[in-house]
C-alpha cells in the first residue's frame, strides 16, 4: 500500500510537469480558433457570396473529418511536400506542438464559428433596430449592441467547446508531444501500471476542466446582468454605476 501511494505520488509529479504543455496547446489553439471563428462568422453574414462559400466549405471540411486525421495530415503529410520540407516553413511544421495547435485551430474554429453564427442569429432583431434607428452603424453597432447580446447567448455553448478542446489536446500525444497523456503513456511503457497512471492523468484533466468551467460559469453569471438575483425594489438614483 505504501509503495502504491509512493508510485502514484511520483507519477503525478511527472504528469504535473507536463501540464504546461497541455495548457500551452489549449491556450494557443483556443485563442487562435476564437479569433478565426470571429472572422468566419463575419464571412458567413457577408453580402457577397464568396466569403459565405469559404465559410461553408471550411466548416464542411474541418467539422466533417476527424481531428486526429487533420493532425496526422499536417504533421506527417506536410513533411512529404517538398516546398514545405525544404522551405522556411519547415521550422514550424517539424514541431509537433505547432502542428497540433494548427490542426486544433482549424478544426475548432469551424465549431466555434457555428456557435457564434447561431448566437448572432439569435440576437433579438429589435435590439439591433433600436441601435440603427438612433443612427448607429458598423463597428459601433457591433460593439455596443450586437456583441454584448451575442456573447451572452454564445457563452454556454462556447464553454462547452473549450472543455471539448481541453480533452482534444490529448491527441497531441499521438505525434510525440509529451503532454499529460504523452507522459502518461511513457510512464506506462516502463512501469506497466496502466490503470494507476491513466487515473492520475484523468484526475489532472478533471482538475483543469473544473477550473475552466468554474471560470466560464462565473463569467456567464457576471454578464447575465438582468437575470441576477437582486431585489426588484426601485434602486435609489444615487447608486447608479456609470460604465
Amino acid at each position: 500500500m505504501g509503495e502504491h501511494l509512493t508510485f502514484i505520488g511520483s507519477v503525478t509529479a511527472q504528469l504535473v510537469r507536463a501540464v504546461p504543455v497541455t495548457l500551452l496547446i489549449l491556450a494557443v489553439s483556443g485563442v487562435c480558433a476564437t479569433v478565426l471563428a470571429t472572422g468566419l462568422t463575419a464571412m458567413s453574414v457577408a453580402r457577397s457570396p464568396l466569403p459565405r462559400l469559404i465559410q461553408r466549405t471550411w466548416t464542411f471540411l474541418f467539422r466533417g473529418t476527424p481531428l486526429i486525421l487533420q493532425i496526422f495530415m499536417i504533421y506527417y503529410g506536410f513533411a512529404m511536400v517538398p516546398w514545405i520540407r525544404h522551405g522556411l516553413l519547415w521550422a514550424a511544421f517539424r514541431d509537433p506542438v505547432f502542428c497540433t495547435c494548427l490542426a486544433m485551430t482549424c478544426c475548432c474554429s469551424a465549431y466555434i464559428a457555428e456557435i457564434f453564427r447561431g448566437a448572432l442569429a439569435a440576437v433579438p432583431r429589435g435590439e439591433i433596430e433600436a441601435g440603427r434607428a438612433c443612427g448607429m452603424t458598423g463597428f459601433l453597432l457591433l460593439r455596443r449592441v450586437i456583441a454584448p447580446s451575442l456573447i451572452r447567448i454564445a457563452l454556454p455553448s462556447y464553454s462547452n467547446e473549450i472543455i471539448m478542446m481541453t480533452k482534444s489536446t490529448s491527441l497531441a500525444s499521438t505525434i510525440t508531444v509529451l503532454d499529460i497523456t504523452g507522459v502518461a503513456q511513457q510512464v506506462i511503457a516502463h512501469s506497466y501500471r496502466t490503470l494507476d497512471v491513466f487515473c492520475a492523468a484523468a484526475a489532472l484533466y478533471l482538475l483543469i476542466n473544473a477550473t475552466l468551467s468554474t471560470l466560464l460559469t462565473a463569467l456567464e453569471r457576471r454578464l447575465d446582468v438582468d437575470r441576477a438575483p437582486t431585489p426588484l425594489a426601485p434602486i435609489p438614483p444615487t447608486l447608479e454605476p456609470l460604465s
Partner: protein, 258 residues
C-alpha cells in the same frame, strides 16, 4: 400666420414584399409641431410606412427628406432603390428617433445607460450634459427611481416610458411611434398615452402609428387613414371623426365606436 417648415417630406413611397404590394404610393408631409396619427387595419402598411421613414425599411420607390436633407436613396442596376451611402443614412436617422411596439431596450444596459447611449456614442456629446439630460428625462417619464435597474426587471409600461426617454435623449426633430401601446395592458396604456400627450403639448413633431382612437382624436393635429397601401383619407381629427368623414374610415371606426 407663417407655416412652420416641414420636418419630414415623404413622396410617393412604394414597397412590395415579393408579389404583395404593401405601400402603393404614399406621400406625407409633417410640419414642425405636428402630431400625425396613422390609422388603418392590420396589413394596411402603416408600420412598414413608418419604418420606411427612417430607412429601417428601404422603399422600392419614392423620396424621403428630413428637413431639407434628402435620404441617400439611389437606383441600383436592377432599377431598385437602395441606400447608396450608409453613413448619410445613419446621419439622417440621428435626426429622428423611434419608439417600438416591443420597446427594444438594450437588455445589457441599465435604464440610465439606455437613455445615455445614443447622445454619448452616436452624437458624442459631453458626458455631464448627457447625464443631466438623461436624469431630467427619466424624471419626466416618471422613472427617476430606476436609473440602475435593468430593462427586464421593469413592467411593459415602465420599459416603454424608458424607451420614450431614450428616444428624446438626442432631442430629435421627429419622433416615430410604432404602435407604442399595443403590447401593454390597459392600465399601462393610459400612462404611456398621457406621456405622449404631454410631448405633443410641448410641440414635439410626432408620427404615431396607433390603434388608440381617443389619442388620434384628442391629441393629433392630423389623422391619416391607410387602406390597402394608400392614403384612403386624411384630415384634422375634427373632420375625420365628424359626420363628413369618408365612409371607409367610418366603417373602420365603427367597431371601436361602440
Amino acid at each position: 400666420m407663417t407655416v412652420p417648415p416641414p420636418v419630414l417630406t415623404a413622396t410617393n413611397i412604394r414597397k412590395s414584399f415579393g408579389d404583395r404590394e404593401v405601400l402603393a404610393g404614399i406621400s406625407l408631409e409633417a410640419r414642425e409641431g405636428e402630431v400625425i396619427s396613422i390609422l388603418g387595419g392590420s396589413g394596411s402598411g402603416k408600420s412598414t410606412f413608418l419604418r420606411c421613414l427612417n430607412l429601417l425599411e428601404v422603399p422600392d420607390e419614392g423620396q424621403i427628406a428630413i428637413g431639407d436633407v434628402q435620404a441617400p436613396l439611389t437606383r441600383n442596376r436592377h432599377g431598385r432603390l437602395e441606400v447608396s451611402d450608409g453613413r448619410a443614412a445613419a446621419r439622417l436617422r440621428t435626426q429622428t428617433a423611434m419608439v417600438f411596439q416591443g420597446f427594444n431596450l438594450w437588455p445589457h444596459l441599465t435604464v440610465l445607460q439606455n437613455v445615455m447611449e445614443a447622445p454619448l456614442r452616436v452624437h458624442r456629446r459631453d458626458r455631464d450634459e448627457v447625464l443631466a439630460t438623461a436624469r431630467s428625462l427619466l424624471e419626466r417619464v416618471g422613472m427617476a427611481g430606476f436609473h440602475a435597474a435593468y430593462p427586464k426587471r421593469l413592467s411593459g409600461g415602465q420599459q416603454q416610458r424608458v424607451a420614450i426617454a431614450r428616444a428624446l435623449a438626442t432631442n430629435p426633430k421627429l419622433v416615430l411611434f410604432d404602435e407604442p401601446t399595443s403590447a401593454l395592458d390597459p392600465e399601462r396604456v393610459r400612462e404611456v398615452l398621457a406621456l405622449m400627450r404631454s410631448l405633443a403639448e410641448e410641440g414635439r413633431t410626432m408620427i404615431v402609428v396607433t390603434h388608440e382612437m381617443a389619442f388620434a382624436r384628442d391629441v393629433s393635429s392630423r389623422v391619416v387613414h391607410l387602406m390597402n397601401g394608400r392614403v384612403e383619407s386624411s384630415g384634422p381629427p375634427a373632420h375625420m371623426f365628424g359626420p363628413d368623414a369618408s365612409p371607409a374610415f367610418r366603417a373602420f371606426l365603427s367597431p371601436a365606436a361602440l
